[in-house]
Amino acid sequence: MSAPQSQDAASSKLLHPEVLGDHFEGAHDADGRPLVHAEATSRPIREPVQQEPQPRGAKDRGHRPVDPVEAAGRFVTATIHEKAHDERLWDGRLRRDAAAHALPEWEAMRAIASATKEHTLAHLGQYLAQFEAAAEANGVIVHWAEDAAEHNRIVHDILRTHGAKTLIKSKSMLTDECGFRAYMKGVGIEVIETDLGERIQQLDNEEPSHITGPAIHKTRADVAKVFASTLGSDPTADDIHKLATVQRDTTRPYILAAGAGMTGCNFAVAETGTVVVCTNEGNADLSANTPPLHIVSMGIEKLVPTLAHLTVFVRLLARNAIGTPLTQYTSHFRAPRPGTQMHYVIVDNGRSARLGLAEFWTSLKCIRCAACMNTCPVYRRSGGLSYGATYSGPIGVILSPTFDRAKYSALPFVSTLNGSCTNVCPVKINIHEQIFAWRRVMAEEHRIPLAKAELMRTMGYVLAHPTLYRTAIAAADEVLRWLPHFVIENRFNTWSSKGRDTPNAPKQTFHSWWYQNRIKGGKSA
């Protein structure tokens, strides 16, 4: 049977043809053509049938530096996971390009989105006050949290006042940032994630590995194993439709019984006091509309001034994230339903301090589309959990050090600085330049990883002494050509890592070639 072609099938070849599936397993339209929306790929991508244990993320060592290279090394070694991951994310990039190229106003919209965010951040006090006043006029109760601990405490207080013991919630990177689920577990409140990917990660005790596809690093076998051990399903039943049904059927009773619901916030409109949430599953609408209490967690940077400006962001977000004109649901919460309460918890947690960092404040423009992750060659082949941070990929590299410089000191070095992230950013954040600027900060603060620092010190000395340099290069080339692979590819050679070989050494240095052919040989250039 030949593979039916998707109506949007990308024409370019697969990066890893061995993971091309023979048919689409997902939903089709009435004419039997495979559909490409939500986070679905435009080509069937399937791992070979043999199983492979899921590579786990970077080890958490408290405030000591995360070692992303060690974790990425394990991800790359798990070739089944790595290739499918690489392929699916690259497909996301291609879908994004198709959606962007279909709109003649795309670049104009990026420019407006970027300028709107910069204006709003530069006048944030004014817009926060306007948003608060509008929300209160709509009957919403507004809270302010300086940090993660205060956010968790405020939400706990609200739940306690209402006697709510169970909270259903939609996906929110901010609550991940706040360690919200762990806190609630400690105070005896049951939190149920309703997004499929986030629920998988909750049940498996992992952080989301990707902003829009939290479990995209897992195979169906990994998910079947998680559901078997936590939800009691059959571990060998790994049909994806059945796995999704297991989650739907086990989550629905919580949705109906929960005392409170929580959502994140994609955009907050200052002029109307509205919070906008985008999902594909409709789980934010269920979380907000079913229980008698709706709590919104939002960062201070989520504001846009007017509904007219909101249109630009709504039209950019899903196209840039997953290549569809909108997510399945774009939901606007402005005022509570009669007889219920709505609360906004407006969280700083380091954002106002970041606003004062001349080189890094524009990272606050981020709308969490994850396009920079999809396009990044390092991210695609390392997996999000290798970064050991709530925010991974290029955006995580520039956000994470603002939370903990020591812990995330190695992250600015896991980048090729190719600038692809900057090119696809819908709000024009100069991500790769900020990554480079963070390297400088880490160097100035002596936070460069040990092996790399030693190498740089040696290089600095050798580069400052031309004769020594020429001798060293000639000797190194000679040695490199004869050394066995295992000696070269080791952890002290920071050029080399699993999946990136040290290039073959030339037979002759440029300097000796020049001497031989241009000077000694007497030929004029």
Binding site: A115, L124, G197, I200, E281, L355
Partner: protein, 194 residues
């Protein structure tokens, strides 16, 4: 100092230097050579939704019976009478056993294939999420060209709740395989009325 004061003071203190003017947003016209209705139908299909016309289906209730063989039909549209009276529903959770929900759309959006609802159309908001299937009545005259046009509707400044539905509830969170009916409705069908 309260957290509110501390945060507002810091964002003013750390205000980025430079002048950052608020850009105006022009109206971006949508290319729609096929006309609004055809563009809407094509966009909706790509997002996993389906459309039928009143002419095609005849009596809507009979068509729903034949199409879904439902036990419970709950309708927020006066002309389509189901067997669950929405006005008697006291709690949002009571709609959990609905097989087919029926609601009138406030707007349709050709650019995206979306339909727009507020609490005025849904009466009980969970109607559009707890049901297994959603049938939407949309008047062709209510279709606007783009998302920007939809946001000009006063409902976005006055409704407590407003939502774009663009096809059914969907997820591709496992291996990027597309599933319809993630947490919400398994299908969304629009009945177009001239």
């Amino acid at each position: 100092m309260s957290s509110r004061e501390a945060i507002l003071t810091r964002v003013r203190l750390n205000r980025p230097r430079g002048s950052f003017d608020l850009p105006s947003v022009p109206h971006f016209a949508l290319a729609q050579p096929e006309g609004l209705v055809q563009t809407f139908v094509r966009s909706l299909k790509k997002m996993g939704g389906r459309s039928v016309t009143v002419q095609e289906i005849g009596n809507p209730v009979a068509w729903i019976q034949k199409e879904y063989a439902p036990k419970v039909i709950c309708s927020a549209v006066p002309q389509i009478v189901g067997n669950r009276d929405l006005s008697q529903v006291n709690r949002p959770q009571e709609l959990a056993d609905v097989d087919v929900a029926v609601a009138q759309a406030l707007l349709g959006v050709a650019e995206t294939g979306s339909v727009v609802f507020t609490e005025a159309q849904l009466q009980v908001n969970t109607l559009a999420y707890l049901a297994q299937h959603l049938v939407v009545v949309l008047n062709a005259v209510d279709i606007v060209a783009g998302v920007q046009d939809a946001y000009r509707h006063p409902a976005f400044s006055s409704a407590h709740y407003a939502v774009f539905h663009t096809g059914p509830s969907a997820t591709a969170d496992i291996e990027a395989v597309l599933i319809h009916g993630a947490q919400g409705v398994r299908s969304l069908t629009v009945i177009l009325q001239e």
